[in-house]
């Protein structure tokens, strides 16, 4: 009998043994279980690494996430350690202390009774380092033109532009402080609380429109969000109940932005102002519980959450144009409020060994109770709109019903199927009620222990009560337009997953294929058709106990077709989008037990391409230039053990990225848009780091004598 067959028989036998109802275990007499040889952890242990990294060039995008956006040297300080006794534990980890992506995490407590964590991390978002602006900062919420600026009607007339542009990098930094604790006063009760403060600062791009022109503005970000999660949980072997509170409080320290327009402007309209994200908060109380019945291995889970979001930021005036003044505001602030309600019920049961059924129902409600007022808008600080317009507080109710079942049939083939119904009820929109009915089936077959094959397919129909064209018409919409997220849609999809993982074989292979087709057959204008294909394949090969390699590929293609009408009639232009992305990855791991050298190598390549073809009655067929991106990313990490405690480390990263994007144009390319002139990305950067790692405390585990 082969080893594989033996293992398969063992597996089958064990599956029956483990699933046999009523199987009982012997009562263990642990009085002689001294665990005398057990090498329990105690004392302090840590590994610290110090070194440096050199980055070969400036590249904002390479620094996105990593913080390595500027050429030069960075200190590397990483480490992790533990202080442990029979009852107490303290864990600490820190990484990248020399870069803007630094993190520190400390966890500890009296195990099984009380725990705490303290964390700090930074997340750099680096967007552009090729941008420039004419604006100078008078305050964090006020931008000025350079002295001597000569306004003009178009960018071509900006005689001072070249001499006024100053480099301005675009990017923000997020800092997150996290404090939390949990306490188990009795075995069935657990209390937990977590507080996080996120701050985000830096500069992003916004645009400030004036009459028919607009300017890209360097906008100063200064956000602060406090979040609290706290609750109490009661749990037994049969049930659990959790009462929780979630609070999120956002503050924008720059709730408005004032700027001077560089264009020729009417008197009074040279200085403009926009509102930015208002302060807001959201608080939610939730109750969730689960109960397990002995009968048919049945579990019921239910949750109920109710929340309120509020926003009452003081309004800016309609305009700061002194020649217009604007009407009095109906209220000084909105007093906006959104009430949310979420509840769900889920039941899973195994009526007999080879079958399982599932029922789920979920309901989400957003009830926007914000009062409505009449507003008399001033258009771009120039024209007062005569007629009043009302704000529209959007609300919706959303539900999701699921019914599914699985049956293990002949040869352990698992057949499953299900039905889903999603409904949305809305107000103030073209579609008041929308229903998606979906049916699906799946077959999973594992004829051999090492071969797993799953095939899934389904279809869904998104139906609507009616498309109320009068809603769109009141806003000037073409009555034939069907918004893609509201329109009728018929979707079919299929998915295949196959994995080959022969036992005792060094090879493992997995592949997935997903195809989907969306047909918006009732849409004459808007998105009419979309097709999707996703393919992946992974191969790993354990060459030896210490060495393995892997290869992976991924392909994604999304094709979409939309129609439009420039004559405000039936469709007279179409746009076809072919969006593809290909990924290839390969790597090697070499880590011999008790060896001195450990090595890790990863390489990834990503190729993105978007082709847009437009065909119109007025312009004829026209291809827009392909939007292309190419990423090559490689990393080699190695360590060499000089002794049991001392290691040398080496880390080499290489990244090349090229982007072709016709929309990224220089500052004055567009007559009526003063951009910040971001160049399409094109860089290749390497970052090489070396360091020394030293281990403190006992490392090797040995059985006690």
């Amino acid at each position: 009998m082969t080893t594989k067959t033996t293992r398969y028989i063992s597996k089958t036998a064990m599956s029956f043994a483990l699933l046999a109802p009523g199987l009982a275990l012997a009562q263990a007499d642990t009085s002689n279980w001294k665990c005398e040889s057990c090498p329990f952890d105690s004392g302090a242990r840590a590994a610290y690494e110090a070194g440096g990294t050199y980055v070969s060039d400036d590249a904002a995008r390479f620094g996105n996430g990593t913080g390595y956006d500027e050429k030069g040297g960075y200190a590397n300080l990483d480490g992790a350690g533990r202080l442990v006794s029979e009852e107490y534990l303290l864990d600490w980890t820190f990484a990248d202390l020399g870069a803007d992506s630094r993190m520190l995490q400390i966890d500890g407590g009296l195990q099984g009774k009380f725990g705490f964590h303290v964390g700090y991390r930074e997340l750099p978002y680096r967007r552009f380092d090729t941008t420039s602006t004419i604006f100078t900062q008078a305050a964090s919420d006020r931008l000025l033109l350079p002295s001597g600026w000569v306004p003009a009607g178009t960018t071509a007339g900006f005689t001072q532009l070249a001499t006024s542009l100053a480099p301005q990098n675009i990017g923000t930094d997020r800092q997150i402080v996290d404090l939390g604790a949990d306490w188990t006063p009795a075995s069935q009760f657990r209390l937990f609380a977590d507080f996080r403060r996120q701050t985000r600062d830096g500069i992003d791009i916004t645009s400030g429109p004036s009459y028919t022109q607009t300017s890209f503005l360097p906008r100063f970000i200064d956000f602060e969000t406090d979040q609290i999660d706290a609750g109490v949980q009661y749990a037994t072997e049969r049930a659990s109940l959790t009462l929780a509170y979630y609070g999120s409080f956002f503050t924008n320290n720059n709730p408005s932005l004032t700027w001077e327009t560089p264009y020729t402007a009417a008197p009074g309209a040279t200085t403009l102002r926009m509102a930015r994200e208002p302060d807001n908060d959201f608080q939610q109380v939730s109750l969730s519980g689960k109960y397990r019945f002995d009968a048919a291995d049945t579990i019921i889970a239910a949750s109920l959450a109710t929340g309120t979001g509020e926003q009452d930021q003081e309004f800016l005036p309609y305009t700061i144009n002194p020649d217009l003044g604007g009407n009095a505001l109906p209220v000084p602030s909105l007093g906006a409020e959104v009430d949310t309600m979420n509840y769900a019920l889920m039941l899973t049961s195994r009526p007999f060994d080879k079958a399982r059924i599932k029922f789920g129902y979920r309901y989400d409600e957003r009830d926007n109770t914000t009062p409505q007022y009449d507003w008399t808008r001033v258009i771009v600080d120039l024209f007062a709109l005569g007629e009043a317009e009302q704000n529209t507080p959007y609300s919706f109710e959303r539900s999701h019903l699921t019914l599914s079942g699985e049956l293990v049939t002949w040869k352990d083939i698992r057949i499953s199927g299900g039905y889903d119904r999603r409904t949305i009820k809305r107000d103030y929109q073209e579609v008041a009620e929308q229903t998606v009915d979906e049916g699906w089936g799946q077959m999973r077959w594992q004829p051999l222990a090492w071969f797993d094959f799953t095939l899934k397919g389904g279809a869904s129909e998104r139906d609507i009560d009616r498309y109320d064209e009068t809603v769109g018409i009141s806003l000037g919409q073409n009555p034939l337009m069907r918004k893609y997220y509201l329109a009728y849609r018929y979707r079919t999809y299929g998915e295949l997953v196959a994995s080959f993982t022969p036992v005792d074989s060094p090879l493992a292979f997995t592949t997935t294929v997903l195809m989907a087709d969306d047909n918006y057959s009732q849409s004459r204008l808007g998105l009419t058709d979309s097709e999707e294909l996703r393919v992946t394949a992974d191969l790993s090969w354990a060459i030896a106990e210490s060495t393995s390699v892997y290869f992976m590929i991924g392909h994604e293609a999304i094709d979409a077709l939309q129609t439009g009408s420039e004559q405000f009639s039936t469709y007279d232009w179409v746009a076809r989008h072919d969006d593809t992305f290909d990924h290839f990855g390969a790597g090697l791991r070499y880590a011999p037990v008790d060896g001195k050298l450990a090595l890790r190598f990863d390489y990834n390549r990503g190729d993105g391409n978007t082709s847009i073809f437009v065909d119109s009655l007025s312009g004829g067929p026209s291809d827009l230039p392909d939007l292309e991106s190419t990423l090559d990313s490689a990393r080699i990490e190695a360590s060499y053990a000089f002794s049991d405690r001392l290691e040398g480390t080496f880390d080499l990263r290489y990244e090349r990225f090229q982007l072709a994007d016709f929309a990224m144009v220089s500052e004055a390319t567009l007559p009526t848009v003063l951009t910040m002139g971001a160049d399409p990305y094109d860089y290749d950067v390497y970052a090489v780091g070396i360091g020394i790692r030293y281990r403190f405390g006992v490392e090797k585990l040995e059985l006690a004598d």
Partner: protein, 325 residues
């Protein structure tokens, strides 16, 4: 000591005895195949004599002993498998009495409960062991979750015999998830994506992988609530709301990655033109005629529609109904 021949002779039963023996043997075999669970309960598997000390007589390599670097091996924690009075290795690997007992030469030892992709123990059996202790904190929600539906084993993601489980660290978690979620891995390498491939965001920042009553195992009530965890500035409620934004961020964004700036699902202005068809500039086709060298179009280049309507997530300005203020 008997010779083989002598032994055979001594054990040779009488003819009637042989018949009775065969009958009893047949009944015994039938009883074995028709044994009810109650019978199994009557003869439960035995634990080892000395617990972990028994196991370590054979299993003493560093990989096994690494469990003592984990929270599963804390003697002061009564809930830990190695807490005082607990079942030590057999808390997870099951009773080891038979496994540690004597076996005939050439015969394989009865298997213990094993974990991981090469384990002989079926997934349901593996997970049942974990749920013995983790039912309250994770197990209840696990039942019926999409991971449970797809027969994912706890050990497919978690490594118990290691000091720092890779799936619990932000820097390494996605590698574990991407083993199965290969399409999401492909997306993570797109030009516009969250910093997951850089190891600065984890899948669990948005998803509760142990199961939730939410769609797609989202960490908060719905898509928007989950996004607002980090993007609270977009929550509003605004004076002038943009309807699809208030309903679902995923109407316009693909959070796993995109070829388009801002992780948009389609290139602007075409994305906007999938909903907006007003006479005038919203309904004009944007083709190569709007490129530099021809008549550069402010509706196609730069930030496209957002050159003017920048506040697409909503505006709180009294004059901001067109999302320009």
């Amino acid at each position: 000591m008997f010779s083989k021949q002598t032994e055979r002779t001594r054990l040779q039963p009488a003819t009637e005895g042989r018949r009775l023996g065969r009958l009893l043997a047949l009944l015994a075999v039938l009883a074995t195949f028709t044994a009810s669970p109650v019978t199994a309960a009557d003869d439960p598997p035995e634990y080892s004599k000395e617990g972990a000390d028994t196991c370590f007589q054979c299993h003493d390599d560093q990989t096994v002993l690494a469990v003592f670097r984990t929270r599963h091996a804390v003697p002061g924690n009564p809930d830990s498998p190695f807490g005082h009075g607990q079942l030590q290795c057999e808390a997870c690997h099951g009773p080891g009495g038979a496994h540690a007992g004597r076996v005939r030469r050439g015969e394989e030892r009865p298997p213990m409960i094993q974990f991981g992709p090469d384990a002989v123990t079926p997934v349901e059996g593996q997970n049942a062991q974990c749920m013995n202790c983790h039912l309250a904190d994770t197990g209840f929600a696990w039942h019926g979750s999409s991971h449970d539906d797809n027969t994912v084993a706890c050990a497919d993601c978690h490594t118990a015999h290691i000091e720092r489980d890779p799936v619990l660290a932000k820097a390494t978690q996605s590698e574990v998830c991407f083993d199965c979620h290969q399409q999401q891995r492909t997306e993570s390498f797109k030009p516009y994506a969250h910093p997951v491939r850089q190891g600065k965001m984890a899948c669990t920042d948005c998803h509760n992988t142990h199961g939730e009553t939410t769609d797609r195992l989202l960490a908060r009530s719905d898509v928007n609530s989950t996004c607002y965890d980090c993007h609270a500035e977009l929550r509003g409620p605004y004076l002038w709301e943009h309807a699809p934004v208030a309903e679902d961020c995923a109407n316009c964004h693909n959070p796993h990655g995109s070829n388009q700036p801002g992780m948009l699902t389609m290139r602007a202005p075409m994305l906007c033109q999938s909903c907006h068809s007003q006479a005038g500039h919203p309904s004009l086709p944007q083709d190569a005629g709007g490129l530099p060298g021809n008549l550069p179009s402010q509706f196609l280049l730069g930030q496209s529609c957002m050159n003017c309507h920048e506040q697409v997530h909503g505006s709180n300005h009294p004059s901001g109904s067109r999302l320009m203020r």
